[in-house]
Symmetry: C2
Subunit: 320 residues, 2 copies
Amino acid sequence: MKTREIAIGIDMGGTNTVFGFVNKRGKCIAQGSIRTEQYEELNDFLKALWERIEEVRLEIKQNIHIKGIGIGAPNGNFYNGTIEFAPNLNWKGIIPFAKEFKKLSKLPVVLTNDANAAALGEMMYGGAKRMKDFILITLGTGLGSGIVVNGNVLYGHDGFAGEIGHVIVVPNGRKCGCGRKGCLETYASATGIKRTALNLLSESDEESMLSGHTIRSLSAKMIDAAAIKGDKVAMDSFEYTGKILGEALANSIAYTSPKAIFLFGGLAQAGKLIFKPTKKYMERSLLHVYKKKVKLLPSSLEGAHAAVLGASALVWKEIS
Amino acid sequence: MKTREIAIGIDMGGTNTVFGFVNKRGKCIAQGSIRTEQYEELNDFLKALWERIEEVRLEIKQNIHIKGIGIGAPNGNFYNGTIEFAPNLNWKGIIPFAKEFKKLSKLPVVLTNDANAAALGEMMYGGAKRMKDFILITLGTGLGSGIVVNGNVLYGHDGFAGEIGHVIVVPNGRKCGCGRKGCLETYASATGIKRTALNLLSESDEESMLSGHTIRSLSAKMIDAAAIKGDKVAMDSFEYTGKILGEALANSIAYTSPKAIFLFGGLAQAGKLIFKPTKKYMERSLLHVYKKKVKLLPSSLEGAHAAVLGASALVWKEIS
């Protein structure tokens, strides 16, 4: 039996950590997960994760050679392999994650932030296959970004480049988890559109389907469902979100002049509800020289394995 | 006599075009200029420029081998060697400048925009010698930017990346020459600070030294001189300019995470009058992870040859 080269991709989230054994063509041949949040101690988490990976490995019926492990993590730093001050993880401060996991696994380990991993996945397996300059935006609880320049992820001098979610778009605007005000992600994200809907409800005197939900439970998905049924507040929430996002992306284009911008993650799955206003305001706000040149596209890596594929791409791209 | 390798650097401006014969260490061994604005026809300009270059070459008493010609031009495009829709030049539309000049000179010709050329100069001969990630901002009539990522100028998919001067910083703000409103360069540039001074004069009831000048003649230099003498409106004009610029640079850092930002050009020569407020507001606005990491520095290439040096650096960097 032929031995196949495999990369392990790990997508770390605050709640769950999902991993997969992925071949070079982006096929996930086995997968598993553990709950991130139940481990108070980093070492316990690392051990449990590696044990689970070894269990899944035993189920694989092919001869495989594992080339390395790629990890996409919140606040992950590519240069140091650290996770630094991630607000949604139990382990605080600067965690030498890649180094510790390398000791345990005896394999090469590379780590970057989740949005950079998604951008690498898009470039290796998705819609950015033939692109050297593009931006990928993840619209989840927050807004993450991976910027690709001349075929490489832009890491900057310290590994922390590409924080478009923390560009301030409204001076003295909404309070952000980062401690500042008016960051893009407080408007353009799943939580951002919820805040927008609440604000519009405060200003409107129209009936809205959204009013039946508790404020705590109100979600981007509910706003999506209501907008599809023609609810005005819900539709206006998408329009406003698209306006803020589109105007911000017009500025992004003035930095790196990408061929395309990909939207990835939960809110992007609202389809034309979010794409249409974003595209409209983006085009309207662009400097002449960029107009009608930059595509706004859905990520083609959506689905359960998307983030794992991205993390595995890190192995093929960065371990030589 | 030993033959020395030389690059010709050309700095094209709307009024004058200056060129120099520069060796690899950044020494300008001969120079000259012609008036750009007196040539209605592109071909007449090209011929006159090349004739002048040949005249100056004859005066050089060394054996030289010219490796190529590097040109920094407004709205210059590195990929195509074109100058596209430059508002301050007599020749409209898309001009295949590098191609035409190559025909005439029989030498390799590379062209980029003036701010990119300045960034290359800073990297080759100036304060960015050991840096792989930095941004150079030119504060002249407008605001230009050259972004260096991983040791290379960021050109983007079409050659037009790095237009930080046209990032919109004040929605519905000041009218910009580009046809839009609120671009950074309408605030942070020599013309921007003049507009700020006029605005502050409109709001203030204090006496100001600036009031003796005609509105047409009021310049950044006059505001500088008045601020040094303690004029309140002039000092406040620098404070406000620094605020807008500093806040914008904090956003720039969230894109490319540079090791330093260099300020170049007329307004940067106001020294701490502009550096102090810019630094203050930049630090104040930065996301935690970037704080106290990014240097704000004056370009070390100031002076008559700065732009020519930058243009010549293009030859060493891009012609192999």
